[in-house]
Symmetry: C2
Subunit: 173 residues, 2 copies
């Protein structure tokens, strides 16, 4: 089974892209800042995402990436498949020959599990994630972070007066 930081990063980055889907494309540098993912690493991931036609790229100043499909058309499984090589949990890759060319005792168990996981992740689209309350909360926090870091810390805090901001300020000092 292959589900590591790579796949998580890809989903996180795609979700970030969906969250900030404006007219203008989103640069990897922005995603890198917000999601704290290494820029060069993101480049590798987006190279694959582009190969799978999940995103499209615009070069030059003001350029960046945009979603190539509607959020409801992009499933989490699709994203992970694009960067990993699938969420297969067999060791034979589905062929059924991991024990000296023959099928091992537990082959079917792992294919069943793989199918289960794939179904689960394939049912969840970016659209679904966008609507989730917990994700909205985190996204808001990140926006504030971003603004606080880069623009005008003092004037902004007065606007954003919810408990979340306060918790955050306490935590970060």
């Amino acid at each position: 089974m292959r589900l590591t930081t790579k796949g998580r990063y890809a989903v996180t980055a795609m979700l970030d892209l969906a969250l900030h889907a404006q007219v203008k494309p989103v640069s990897l540098a922005d995603i890198s800042k917000r999601q704290k993912i290494s820029l060069s690493y993101l480049e590798q991931l987006f190279s694959k995402l582009k190969q799978q036609a999940l995103v499209l790229s615009i070069r030059g100043p003001g350029g960046g990436y945009k979603l190539n499909k509607h959020p409801q058309e992009v499933s989490v499984a699709h994203i992970i498949d694009a960067v990993n090589e699938s969420v297969d949990s067999t060791s034979c890759g589905g062929v059924g020959n991991c024990q000296e060319g023959e099928m091992c005792l537990t082959h079917h168990l792992w294919t069943d599990l793989s199918a289960q996981i794939h179904t689960f992740l394939d049912d969840i689209t970016l659209e679904h994630l966008l609507k989730r309350r917990d994700i909205k909360a985190v996204a808001n926090r990140q926006t504030e972070h971003h603004l606080l870091d880069d623009v005008a810390p003092l004037t902004l805090t007065s606007n954003l007066s919810n408990s979340l901001t306060r918790t955050l300020t306490n935590k970060k000092g």
Copy 2:
């Protein structure tokens, strides 16, 4: 997410143990031969399985391992948990702090997935696996293999005259 050969080996070995659960204990050397798993590696795995009270050991000649619970009481999840450290697919370990001490965008997605996988694997017991036709077939093949390798190749083949044997002989030469 951590589901690799280690966990698969553990489940396979436990299933082998269940399949050959007689009065006598089963030695790791036997499991090693049948399932083609390195003996020393099996020792490491069974050390952990014993710690979790899934098996018990009998030392000395004629010794080996036995199941410490009924097959219907041992779930696949339990076995994997014993050798891996759980099937968690978050990177924060469930704490929710993988992004510089704060929760990342996709935290809940991964906790949901982890729960899904755990539920699935926790519902499957050794008892269930023992009953499956595909597993029985592989187990039969392995028994034949074992006998063919060790005892009397020529006299035995006449008894075991099913298509499976033939397919197998063709494959192996």
